[in-house]
Symmetry: C2
Subunit: 491 residues, 2 copies
């Protein structure tokens, strides 16, 4: 029993979400906390890193298919560079880790460990862009960044060092830059919805919450089961502000000098946090087959008298799956019983389990069990790879449907301050309200219940908007309402 308790999840997702999350991350072998003296850092173990590799490979392929080239910029940024874009340094200064010594010598100028790379990438874009023929210019970097936040660590969601990609592009005009901004937002949405089985809401941040210097910050937001929103990824239309600050200019077809229009967009391993949080349960990790390092485990169940035939049959099933390119594990360990194995693979989030005992062998069948809900089906042995693939699709659809239901049930409307506060207090989730556009009105809500405006729908996204003709007063101050604001508590 002690052994089982050590291995299994003891916290409740519903009642102790934070503790439960931390337990899943550790017991499913996704990450460990870093050593003493390094609070806020994590060690990402192979099962956790494989999830990041899956995301990385999905997005990297999409980026390359749309003319993005990868590059690599230095880990450090001189303080004077960081200061060159004052808006940025105001944003990041308190969060920067500073290198002051190289070997035994103090540096003349201290170096920031990159909190983001705008301020070192932009000066090089300035060098590389000369003529309109050099545009659009698109570079992307996969890297780790450091932000010295003092808050509690939550692996993947909030860590002082995190892995991400940052894309930076320059364009001849505003329309091209806007198209780019939206293309990257589409790709981020696709990573959530088509790879991670997490539906997201797209929109833009209120003006007071934009990336410093940006014209528009766009976002995809995901609703977690505890009713809080996660900012899934952001794509910024920067206008000409970075081009002006860093002299990113080009000569157009008439040899006139013009400012380029730039964008930047980033996707981090916070997505892995959202993935774990969304689908997992009190038995442990749950993963969609798209990203699971092991997609299916074959568990043979034998007694001594039928050991050979069961193991042979299970082995041939596993071979068929492997040959079809499926990530399969054959768990033929002798020292563990089937129940132990079931628990372990459930904890580790293997999406599909095949059980094979003597009956399955005799009937030329396999028993297929879905991780998310335990649903069990008996299937023919023939064409097992196709069968398993279609079970992957079913599992994916179940996970997506559950997450979608959570979002759909948790967008509520409110037309008065008390309604906003009451609804978020009682249900969490998103509250849509007519809003005047003033930060002060958000502040009132934030001060009272720590909820903020996580998203404002795009002007042409009518489905997400309230009818402002019917609701023409800001829910908080009563002034004229300009937009529909989505309020939520947020990670």
């Amino acid at each position: 029993m002690t052994d089982n308790q050590d291995l299994g999840i003891t916290e409740s997702k519903e009642y102790n979400t934070g503790e439960w999350y931390a337990e899943v991350v550790q017991k499913a072998g996704l990450a460990n906390y870093a050593p003493e003296g390094m609070s806020g850092f994590i060690v990402t173990r192979p099962r956790g890193y494989a999830l990041w590799e899956a995301v990385q490979s999905y997005l990297d392929e999409k980026f390359k298919a749309t003319e993005v080239q990868n590059a690599y910029f230095p880990l450090f940024i001189p303080e004077s560079y960081l200061e060159r874009e004052k808006d940025i340094v105001e944003g990041f200064d308190p969060e920067v880790a500073w290198v002051t010594h190289g070997g035994h010598n103090e540096l003349e100028e201290r170096l920031a460990v990159r909190p983001t790379s705008e301020s070192i990438i932009a000066p090089y874009m300035s060098q590389w862009v000369r003529s309109h023929r050099d545009l659009p210019l698109r570079v992307n970097q996969w890297a780790s960044v450091v932000r010295w936040e003092a808050t509690d660590t939550k692996p993947f969601f909030r860590t002082k060092e995190f892995l991400w990609q940052e894309g930076h592009t320059a364009h001849a005009d505003k329309e091209d830059a806007w198209e780019e901004t939206m293309l990257r937002l589409d790709q981020y949405e696709s990573a959530y919805e088509d790879l991670l089985a997490i539906p997201v809401l797209r929109g833009q941040k209120p003006d007071h919450d934009k990336f410093p210097g940006a014209d528009t910050t766009t976002t995809v937001e995901a609703l977690m089961p505890d009713g809080k929103s996660v900012q899934g990824a952001t794509s910024h239309h920067l206008g000409t502000s970075f081009a002006e600050a860093f002299d990113i200019t080009y000569s157009d077809e008439d040899e006139e000098d013009r400012n380029a229009h730039t964008t930047s967009w980033g996707f981090s391993w916070r997505s892995i946090g959202a993935l774990i949080m969304t689908h997992s349960d009190d038995q442990g990790l749950v993963l969609p087959p798209t990203v699971a390092p092991t997609q299916v485990v074959v568990v043979p169940i034998w007694q001594e008298e039928n050991q050979e035939k069961v193991l042979d049959y299970a082995g041939s099933v596993a071979d068929d799956l492997e040959n079809a390119g499926i990530r399969v594990e054959l768990d033929d360990r002798d020292e563990r019983n089937p129940g132990f194995k079931f628990n372990e693979h459930e904890l580790n989030g293997v999406p599909v389990r095949l059980e094979i005992g003597p009956n399955e062998v005799d009937d030329e069948e396999v028993t297929v069990v879905h991780r998310p809900d335990g649903e069990s089906t008996v299937e023919a042995r023939a064409e097992i790879a196709e069968t398993v693939e279609s079970h992957f699709d079913e599992v994916y659809a179940k996970l997506y449907a559950a997450a979608e239901e959570n979002v759909e049930e948790n967008v509520r409307d409110a037309f008065a301050r008390s309604e906003i506060l009451g609804t978020i207090g009682q249900h969490g989730g998103y509250v849509r309200a007519p809003w005047c556009g003033e930060e002060a009105c958000e502040t009132e809500i934030k001060d009272q219940i720590s909820a903020e405006i996580v998203m404002v729908p795009f002007p042409d996204d009518e489905e997400k908007q309230l009818d402002l003709d019917d609701h023409d007063e800001c829910a908080i101050c009563g002034e004229s309402s300009e937009e529909t604001a989505y309020f939520a508590k947020s990670y």
Copy 2:
């Protein structure tokens, strides 16, 4: 003319190797130097980073096919951790970049930016290894590391920050660990010989030049055209020294506690430096088709009266190549003449060029030109993808043969100190000499001509060894010779 001089290479590979190399790196768009205040760092541009991605993908696939799992450890290492393995800290202390402040606060304990990760990975391996069933354990990390060397920067060869992978494994016994060490050395050798077209010499480092704490440090060495050797990659058999220092123990089948045997192995972007240095020439970058971001460029050559038919034909050739999975570029720019385009693609290292003019169209042919030597062949339009693939093989073979000839001609024997000095002084390259095994004898050579023992052949590698029965005296001190030492100047 000014324009052409700006674009083209002006230095000579033979007479000014260092300046020539720096010029190729910059003019072929591989890397830029980092900003002022960050000497020793580089900005890796897309064409340069694509080379690293090619190496990374080649090795990563080999690693995963041989049971290696990727993980990610923190960028920083607490000073106390670095000190725990005294041998390591003595090795790296003067080269460490130190983070002393997070935001506005001084840290209680300063943090090293990882110069290598043994000292943070080993304590986690200690946690993860409990029983013999947990072995072998293999983790690998792709990351950037920082070593604050004061020497001149040479992009990719010597930079304060560089990209690499470091693999760390634990095994039940010495034999397994040794097999692992050699498996990784084999994979490194294959990356050089089968991907980068660079033949290497394999062997081990002299005892006094091993990785601190290692039983054996194995290496692959590549000879550069200027007669200097590059340590291409190293794979270390660490014995039980790290297991003892970091308590990596396991209970064996009889429940006895035992020390694990560990290995570590690393491959860095220095390989990209060796690649550029080995094959390139006074026209610019030369790359094998295996790693070239653009493998073949199609250059249509037209006059106004045949423009349409030439462009259509060239476009259909490019389409065929692209559909066959070849990385092809169609250079149909109107504003540049063919000569300019030829120069530019030569500078950028495109391995094969297809020239298509009206004659080629009429005869249903294409002209194929090899970058390394300008060899030109007329080939049939039909089955162009297969034809181009076979030209890729020819180009690869030419590059490999030239590099191999360089090595074969530059291994010379010497049996006296003056002979060692004279031969290296006159020819560079490798000098094989009988050696007593004492560091002092190497020091004598080092002091006089800056050459060192870069490699000692493995005991069973007879082909690389001198007959020590015939040459039983150390070439330097005259004491009994124990080994064959390869002396060379080295990067």
